[in-house]
């Protein structure tokens, strides 16, 4: 967490007060919540009233997809089709699966190109096919695994033509790349605090003013009757502080991370280990790829072996996604991009952030040859 967020949050933790109460401490808490809402709205280009606080990205995605599905189907029973990209986070994909299994939904998976991009034309083709059945379109702003940034405005322009609401999971984007929700044209956008230096357990769903959403949690009617539950005032305060800080420092931090990212990618490609970079990557670019995202494929290795060897060398990284039992599975994102399962097993995802330094990049590049060599031997042993 960023020190500014910790300070803001801990200051608030010392105060009592339910933001829904009418007494003095309640009013003070409410003021903090509303100021936080204004801060966040200002930083991401939406109105304060459009910010609905949640417990994080997963809840926001669930509320957006399920809540919109229910509202659209109630208004017109034909609207049961979900158009979601094949590289979405499980918080979106599994919602679609749930709605298919229990609520009669039909899913159209939007295919991506080899760089993980969904083109507006793909979305148009999927809508033209049967526009009357479309309930909602969901395409993430930036991919969590391979860092691909989508043409959200271009896609939203298409969905507007067909009058279909669009949701974007912007969890990876806010605070890392410029995000202007209103200008993008989407109806719904998911955010989470801990991806931009804020606390874990708080996030928001931006809901455009006239977008109708059926709530998933019922009770006290907080947050425009859309998301009941007592508000986490300190968490919201920390969230706002982190958004404010990360957005205000975005330009310098983005340039710094892009340069670090490029050093890491170029260094890895130079190692002569047959390593390839996944997703769009051009030196200096932060339009098509997240600045802090490095995703490499190391042929002949199991990602989990690399993970262990690099962890033992003091480098924390990940392979992609893991199931609950912790068994590494080939990433659905890589498979959707057309990468073979065998290759996808050698995935290595390195994320650079605020605390990353050139020395960290050097450390990774120094540890990689030995780790890859050993991991390849281990892979041979279990093949």
């Amino acid at each position: 967490m960023s020190p500014a967020a910790i300070e803001a949050m801990t200051e608030q933790m010392a105060r009592t007060g339910n933001a829904s109460s009418l007494h003095t401490s309640g009013r003070l808490a409410r003021r903090v919540v509303e100021e936080s809402r204004e801060t966040i709205a200002g930083a991401i280009g939406c109105r304060p009233s459009e910010v609905v606080f949640t417990s994080g990205g997963t809840e926001s995605d669930n509320l957006a997809v399920q809540g919109t599905y229910a509202a659209r189907r109630d208004a017109d029973p034909r609207r049961v089709r979900l158009l979601v990209s094949s590289v979405e986070h499980h918080a979106v994909l599994d919602c679609a699966e749930f709605l298919t299994a229990h609520e009669g939904a039909k899913v159209t998976l939007l295919e991506v190109d080899p760089q993980g991009r969904i083109t507006p034309d793909i979305v148009r083709a999927a809508l033209v096919e049967d526009a009357d059945s479309a309930a909602v379109v969901s395409v993430m702003w930036a991919n969590n695994e391979v860092g691909t940034i989508q043409d959200i405005a271009g896609i939203a322009a298409v969905t507007k033509e067909f009058g279909v609401p669009m949701h974007t999971d912007a969890v990876q984007a806010v605070g890392h790349v410029p995000v202007d929700i209103t200008a993008s044209g989407v109806e719904l956008a998911s955010l989470t605090a801990h991806k931009l230096g804020g606390p874990i357990g708080v996030g928001a769903l931006v809901v455009q003013r006239d977008h109708h959403l059926v709530p998933l949690s019922h009770g006290g009617g907080q947050e425009r009757q859309v998301r009941s539950g007592t508000l986490d005032v300190p968490g919201i305060r920390g969230f706002a502080a982190a958004v404010e800080e990360s957005v205000s420092e975005l330009d310098t931090e983005r340039a710094r991370l892009t340069s670090l990212r490029d050093q890491l990618v170029e260094g890895a490609l130079r190692l002569d280990l047959d390593i390839t970079v996944t997703g769009p990557w051009t030196r200096g670019d932060a339009i098509d790829r997240l600045p802090g995202n490095v995703h490499l494929l190391v042929p002949g290795c199991d990602g989990d072996s690399l993970l262990y060897l690099l962890d033992a060398a003091g480098i924390e990284c990940s392979t992609g996604s893991a199931c609950q039992a912790g068994v590494p599975q080939p990433s659905h994102v890589l498979l959707a991009m057309g990468i073979a399962e065998e290759q996808a097993r050698g995935a290595l995802r390195l994320t650079l952030g605020r605390t990353s330094t050139p020395a960290d990049v050097e450390a990774v590049l120094g540890a990689l040859p030995h780790a890859v060599e050993r991991a390849r031997r281990a892979s041979f042993g279990t093949a």
């Binding site: 989990d304 072996s305 993970l307 262990y308 060897l309 962890d311 033992a312 199931c323 609950q324 039992a325 912790g326 068994v327 590494p328 050993r374 991991a375 031997r377 281990a378 041979f380 042993g381 279990t382």
Partner: protein, 363 residues
């Protein structure tokens, strides 16, 4: 040394990992995902490899403060243990999947991967002892707790494997292990022991075989070859079995009947009276010796099934085979099980029982 502690999520492997840390080793916990469907929660106290077990193992590793990984060996396990199990039953034998798992997974696939990654060996919660002789060679011995001794299922390990295997529980009785787990604050201290076969969590081996192999109706015959009943698959029967024979009672003399032979080639189950069950000769194949094979005929102890008794015997190695003559007639010896030979507490070698010729009455 750098050690992989294989952590099943049970109390034994938890304490084994803790003891390796205490001994000064650099320990990394590894849970083996062996089930194709790892995302199933425990249904009973039986079996292992469930989601809950992986979680228990991770919880222990966190308390011990060691790194923890799940290694997916499900494909290897399926091929080397489960498929072998099915093929053996289909061939009329009674396999021991724990032996195969130790031979091909834990002390082969897992050990090889660990060594390739730079580890020196693998520690497990098995109850057995590895004794290092003055010349540096390793011997495998029975555990101090005879009730828990698992040297039988480890008899397939050779000296090279033993040199990289650590069984830190071999000198301790099970109740003390639970006590120790409690004292160490490990949440698995009172977790029930796993029993039976981990990939058959409901314990219904015959049901598992029927689902995998399909129904194969055939005849139950007596030793004269007279048909006395029918069965839905000879693979579901084991020599020495008395229950579930589905006999047509008429024509029998009221004496209990046992399975005395399973003939896979004709899908026939042969039954007979108790006295036909005894064998005094066992031929083992795929012999593995811990150290040099014995020279000539030697007097040894022979154990013929897991948790079974040890019988006085004489054994003679013959290439890949071992011929064992038992000092007394032993009942319920099934092909496919291991014969493990002991010199006092030391494991001399192990082989898979190919045949245990019963007293042939048929012409």
């Amino acid at each position: 040394m750098k050690i992989v502690a294989a952590m099943s999520g049970g109390v034994d492997s938890a304490v084994a990992a803790a003891r390796m840390i205490d001994a000064g080793h650099e320990v990394v916990g590894v849970h083996l995902a062996l089930s194709q469907k790892a995302a199933t929660l425990r249904q009973s106290a039986r079996g292992c490899c469930t989601l809950e077990d992986a979680g228990d193992a991770r919880r222990v590793a966190d308390v011990l403060g060691i790194p923890f990984y799940v290694w997916d060996l499900a494909a290897r396990f399926r091929e080397d243990v489960v498929e072998d199990f099915l093929a053996e039953y289909a061939a009329g034998r009674t396999p021991n999947p724990c032996v195969r798992c130790n031979e091909r997974i834990k002390f082969a696939a897992l050990l090889d991967k660990a060594v390739a990654l730079g580890f020196d060996g693998v520690a497990t919660g098995h109850y057995a002892r590895v004794v290092e002789r003055p010349d540096g060679r390793r011997e495998l011995h029975r555990a101090a707790d005879p009730q828990k001794d698992q040297s039988y299922v480890l008899g397939v390990l050779d000296e090279d494997q033993l040199a990289r295997s650590f069984f830190p529980l071999g000198d301790t009785a099970k109740p003390e292990i639970r006590e120790e787990a409690r004292a160490r604050g490990l949440s698995v201290a009172s977790k029930p022991d796993s029993h039976d076969i981990c990939f058959i969590p409901d314990g219904d081996t015959r049901g598992f075989l029927t689902r995998a192999l399909g129904e194969r109706p055939g005849s139950v015959v007596d030793v004269e070859g007279q048909v006395v009943g029918s069965h839905s698959g000879a693979y579901g029967f084991t020599v020495g079995q008395r229950r579930g024979l589905g006999l047509d009672r008429a024509g029998l003399d009221g004496e209990p009947r046992y399975v005395v032979d399973v003939e896979a080639s004709t899908n026939t189950v042969v039954i007979g009276t108790r006295d036909l069950l005894g064998v005094d000769t066992v031929v083992g194949e795929h012999a593995r010796w811990c150290g040099p094979a014995p020279d000539g005929t030697v007097a040894l102890g022979a154990q013929l099934r897991a948790h079974g008794e040890e019988y006085a015997a004489s054994a003679r190695a013959n290439g890949d085979e071992v011929h064992v003559r038992l000092a007394e007639r032993v009942r319920g010896v099934a092909a496919g099980q291991s014969v493990v030979l002991y010199d006092d507490t030391r494991v001399v070698g192990s082989a898979t029982i190919r045949e245990a010729p019963r007293a042939r009455v048929r012409a």
